[in-house]
Amino acid sequence: MGILVVRKPDNIRALARTGTGLQLLLSFILIPLYLSGIKNDASDNMLFVENLMWFGSLNIHFVTGADGITIVMLVLGSLAAFAAVFLTQDGDNKPREYYVTLLLTVSASSGFIVSIDMVTGFMFFAGILVPFFILQSIKAKENEIASSMKFILIPAGGAALLLVGLLGVYMNSAPDGNYLTFNITDIQKYLMNRAPQKVFFTMVFTGFAVIGGMAPFSIWLPGSISSLSPELRSYYSGIIIKLGIYGAFRFGINLMPEGAQDVSLFFLLLAATGTVLGSVLTIFEKDLRKILIWSSLSFSGLIFFALLLLNKEALTGAILMMFSHGTAVILLFAIAGMKNSQSHTTETRSIFRSRKHLLVLSVVFFVAVLILGGIPGSVGFIGWRSLISAFLNVNEPIRKIAAYVVLLSMALVIVFILIVALRMLLSSAGTAELNKKERGKYRVKFSEKMAIVILFLPPLAAGMFPSWILSLINTGLRPLLERIGTINPL
């Protein structure tokens, strides 16, 4: 079953919307399909595999397939794409180029999510960056040249590092005598030697961390993100950063858990630093956009931290948080963008003072923050639950301290954003006083309303009926967990 999305070359907005809507639908359908498939055949957790021979002599195949985690990411990806298309503010200036490049990016991301072969995955990963860059160039003004170049060069640097790392994995992937392989399901089953694992895991992980939002590799991120348009920003934070995390997980931790274990302390501390840094900077920011960015960075640090703890609860929590943060941040950035176009500023103080923005938007914002913070009934709640219990159960002293520090900073971040959201809510109650004519200027379009509603569905659904997402994640994690159970620490 091909999961790759179909790209529509001749676009009008409607076509783009239909496309992404379909994709979203498809990804929803996949969930029950996958789960039922798993029940019947519990031996291999990878389903829907499509395998095309590509370069036979190097054993490179064009392989795509899905396991539980893939499906979660796919849902996230489709949501983000959906949002990006529906919430586009001014894409009508040169619609064709805009939508084509946007959809190219979407296709590449989807392709990356489902790749099972490392070369296929890398190809898609690099293929995400370029259309995005072009998207930016079309819209960038003169003074934002530097940041748009940064936007592609630094991830490209990560990708270059990643490539070398992947090649290293490939060269070490054969049980003595057999063929080398790029296929990650095969590599997972084979135990690589420890020494190369350490080296290449570091390379692969760092390469992905650059785009995944882990400090100090992602310091460049906030500056560059602010130069994007709002819907692009939400797309980027919602999914592309998550793809970096996903890549680090799938191609890094999944394939080389022993190596991950060995260098985990180093990266754990880095992730913790990132989280703390992000939280501190969030609190000092006045601009709504910047607040969102730095807090996203904190969240990424949190997720990376959890990933590196390498136990079931932490991993589950990490993926849940990825999903929750992804969906929430799409909404948050989008709302911030809408506020911006209304009041032409994203300074929080001005937003609070102005009484002219829509209540609706503030409510949405507030609820999204609640989801992020883990209100019961949303996926954030389950995520936090897993994470907190995982963090509290850490044994070693250094890691324990780090975990507590991380939890503390995250708490700070969430509280802070909550306060911001609350103030926004309260101040916008003033729109009730505006007369109809003035209010008319600030209407939210129907398409945007629809998008917002749909965006809310998955996180709430996951929160209230968590079994589907939990079983997805569990089946995805199974092979990794089996192997982690047998790691003897060096």
Binding site: M53, W54, F55, G56, S57, L58, I60, V119, F122, M123, F124, A126, G127, V130, F133, I134, S137, I138, I145, S148, M149, I152, L153, A156, G157, A160, L161, L163, V164, L167, G168, Y170, M171, V199
Partner: protein
Amino acid sequence: MNLEELVYIRHEVLLTAVTVLILTAGSVRKIFNAYTLSITATGLFMVLTWIGFLRAGDGIAFGGMLLSSPLPLIMKNILNVAVLIILFFSFKHNSRQQDLRDSRDFYFLIFISLAGMYLMISAGHFLVFYLGIELALLPVTALVKILKNKNDLPAPSGSMIHASLFSSLIILFGISITYGVCGTLYFSKLITINMNNTLQVLAFFAIFGGILIKILILPYYLIREGMEERHPSGLLSLSAIIISVSGVFILLILLFSIFPSVSLLWQKTIFYLTIAGLTAGNIITLRQKKTSRFLAWSSLVQTGYILTGIIGASPLAMTSIISSSAAYIFSAMGLYVMVMIVKGATGSDEIADFRGLYHSNRGLGLSMTIALLSLAAIPPFAGFFGRFFVFASAAEKGFYFFLLVISANTLLTLFYYLNIIRIIFTEDNTRHLKTIKSPLSTRLALIICIAGILLAGIAGILFDKLNGFSFGV
């Protein structure tokens, strides 16, 4: 020599026939004019290219002096396609010549040069090899003379001949020593000899260095004399591409077939040479503002990337170099052709003048972006796969640090290519570039290039076949 052997050297024979034909035709002014001559030449060469791809027997001709086997054949065919692209592009130029002789001379020189490259590639004996080199590169010097404007000083061409002579001498020097030390000049016998003594190493470096100089002469003089500024038809740059690719091919053949015993030596040389050359080249290219110089320097850098494949010294290395070269030909030639088209329309040599190209000329802007992305090794274009395989071959032998340094360099390359893409896409409301129309022949050249860029990477079957024929050290 019997008829069977004729089949083995079919490329050479056919090309010679075509060359003689064109030469004669071009001298008969009553029947031919520039236009018909151009058509004849291009048409004949198209047939030749097609025939070249047909499989026939492989073997030895002239008692071992010429070898015909699948691998050299593939190389020759790649060069054929490259020359075909040049012919299409130069059609406009050649068909409009006043004097039939200018047209005829151009074709004559290109074909002779190609014949020389054939000899180099198929050589089984050092003398044939040397003959091939001379045959390949001397005509280029003459070509430079022909193509530049009539009122230029003869100096540039003169110093090119000096440099040519010098490098030829060095190569001959190396060849003579080799004969003295090894007692033979047949490749098939040389490969069995262990060459680790000092004298032979000296000879090796002489040959290696001489070839490098020969490859670099044309680009160097192009840059130094700023020839492209004075004669913007672009044909010289395109020839430079072919020469560097053929140079890479023969280096490959030499190093793998004759000097495998000193492989450690040349691996180390390549290691340092490429790192130094690439880094320096990248930094210089970054600073270029004029299109012509930018193109010249970036082609040096690209050749450097291809050469990094040699370090692997395995069949995979050979395959990766050949596929890289093919990708490079399509991408670079495509880029040059498009740049020349735009330069012809705007008359300017500044990169900044490409601004807004996409908005006035959709197709051209898009194609140029594709070519640039391919050169920058972005998937899914051919350039990416070429670079990827080169990396894979280096990784195979554990040269990971080397790879990291080269990867850092790819970032620099990416930067300046992306810069151009950005310029192309920027909207510029102050100037309005008119829509550029190109003659059919030029478009054909472009189509071949773009098709090559798009397909050459994805077509895995080609790669597998190639891998089947490669050999290593």
